[in-house]
Amino acid sequence: MSDFIQFENVSRQYGSVLAVNDVSLGIGKGEFFSLLGPSGCGKTTLLRMLAGFERPDSGRVLLDGVDITELPPERRKVNTIFQNYALFPHLSVRRNIAFGPTVAKRPRREVDEEVDKMLALIQMRDHADKRVDQISGGQKQRVAIARALINKPAVLLLDEPLAALDLKLRQRMLIELDMVHDQVGITFVFVTHDQGEAMSLADRVAVMNHGRIEQLGRPVEIYEAPQTSFVAAFIGDSNFFEGVVAEVTDVEHVLLRIDGFDDLRAFNDKGLHEGDRVFLSVRPEKIRISREQPLGGPDHNTTRAVVDDVIYLGTHTRFWLRAGEYRIAVEQQHNRFVLDEQPIRWKDEVWLQWHVDDGFMLERYAESDEALMAIPPQRVGESNAGLEDGGRG
């Protein structure tokens, strides 16, 4: 492999917890790469190994083909944007940015010039002599970026840099980060627990859980074709149905037997056999809801359900329905003016339909992951948490 950054079978254990479990991963030069996962999944440990703050118990870390596993952080061509920015409170904005070149003992005049250039770039020339507690959150992030980039690192590491900002600012800084990446063209490794950030910025995403990479791919692959039930539930929402493969109908499809439903057809990308026990996952927005029975056909699964709850959310409406022993979430976009329509109400009996290729068959989720999922897979009577939830923001 000719990857710019390579993790080779790295592991790291804290006490009895395996924070990183035999991870191998390659990141290309110039890539905007994101490590995504819930807290404690190992993403930050992986990042800190790359920065040099953590030593792996086993395995190697390579940068541009050179083994840097044993190199201390100050000797790596890698710089970090810390979660709280870690700006030095006793130094001015200018001296924060100058920190790297100064400790590298570069000539004073050269340092001054470059700091000026950086200040201009981040539009902070008027704030150069302010103390860092006198500037706003967005400005702090810019200073942190300038302080890192002035060292011309080969890789920029970002440890949840947006977590401290409010929503509006976060959206603006998201765009700024994207622009910075386009300008400097160096490799970015971005750690976040926010799928929105990861999906909108990254060229590729590694979804992590329990110290392992669950899935690696482009954002669209991860969302549209989740490989594990954890990924399906952590990225966006999903409905899960537990069943058995009743029949392999053709090369690509199977027929599933699920309690309370007629047999459902599903896309068989995993080469399952008759009798295998599986989970069927269908995303809420892939399901269409209608009062009248829709046209069927071999490409669609159609089933009846009773409306439990209707939550109007402006851009879309989320329905909670009951079918068999399952509680199903369905999302309907409002592409047209909806006020005149005769709305679907509580207790209405309706039809649900989805394309067979929108149903994925996955392994059973681990019980311990349920808390991490946007909507824990559930059956009727198990929990009503989803009802109060009111959909995802």
Partner: protein, 291 residues
């Protein structure tokens, strides 16, 4: 965090721990052990420590003088502590509720006596209570005390000055706790029908219980060990354990006897300390985790 690479790694732990650790073992733990050991030694006629071991020194603590002194030490300390808490709690409450801009000034007003020379503070009372001093003159003029009576040299004077010297130590931890207290809880209690006094009693006091515990300890323990206050403003009828220890050490030069008394004092101090630690452990077991 200690596993990380950088300034203070796990392998640096001994180097940074040992200087203070060894210093305190040699000059705190070993001397403390020696106190208990010497209590089992005989004295020698030259004011030193004799050879061999004996239970005689410990047995002499049974002298009828000592239970009276121990009892006086305990009650003076307990009354001092209670008086300090009674005065310090409303003060801390007021300091925490007063407008933000007055607080630094009030804190300063409490800290100045806290940092003022201990002897100076005791001496100030000696001046005030002096037979020729202003208070005596005023009280005698009002016929509140007989003209030949004394305000000094009895347990009352000791108690007054003990409260005076310990009170700042009680206020500061209580203020620290009160400052963190969420006063909206008092409003909630009032809203739910509690009167102001009841709200103070069942909501505020439990809310600052850690501060109360600390204040109790930092008042009670030094009071139990007081020596200078009874020495300077007390008389023969208000001697405390500390006076006896100093007497045995300096006047009689009987070091084993002083040791035995110190061991007794150490036990008297240990009981409330252990009690307090147990209480605070039970109070918040979950609050011990550092973020």
């Amino acid at each position: 965090m200690a596993e990380t690479r950088g300034l203070l790694e796990r392998r640096h732990e001994p180097w940074i721990t040992l200087p203070s650790f060894l210093w305190l073992v040699v000059l705190f733990t070993i001397p403390a052990a020696i106190v208990f050991a010497i209590a089992f030694k005989p004295s020698d006629p030259f004011g030193g420590i004799g050879a061999g071991w004996t239970l005689h020194t410990l047995a002499s603590l049974g002298d009828p003088n000592y239970p009276a002194i121990l009892w006086r030490t305990v009650w003076l300390s307990v009354v001092t502590t209670v008086a300090c808490l009674v005065l310090a709690t409303p003060t801390a409450y007021y300091m925490a509720r007063v407008a933000q801009r007055w607080r630094p000034l009030l804190v300063l007003a409490i800290i100045v006596p806290f940092w003022t020379s201990f002897l100076v503070r005791i001496f100030a009372w000696k001046v005030v209570l002096h037979p020729e001093g202003p208070l005596k003159h005023a009280l005698a003029a009002l016929h509140l005390v007989p003209a030949d009576g004394s305000l000094l040299y009895h347990s009352g004077a000791v108690l007054l000055v003990l409260v005076y010297t310990e009170l700042p130590f009680a206020i500061l931890p209580l203020y620290a706790a009160a400052e963190k207290f969420d006063f909206r809880l008092l409003e909630a209690a009032r809203d739910l029908g509690a009167g102001p006094f009841r709200a103070f009693w069942i909501v505020f006091l439990p809310g600052i219980r850690r501060g109360l515990l600390t204040a109790t300890l930092v008042t009670l323990i030094p009071a139990l060990g007081s020596y200078v206050v009874p020495d300077l403003v007390g008389g023969p009828t208000s001697e405390m354990l500390g006076n006896k220890i100093a007497q045995r050490t300096f006047s009689d030069r009987n070091l084993p006897h002083a040791s035995a008394l110190s061991a007794l004092l150490a036990l008297a101090v240990l009981v409330p300390s252990v009690l307090a630690i147990t209480l605070s452990r039970r109070g918040d077991r979950s609050a011990q985790v550092k973020p």
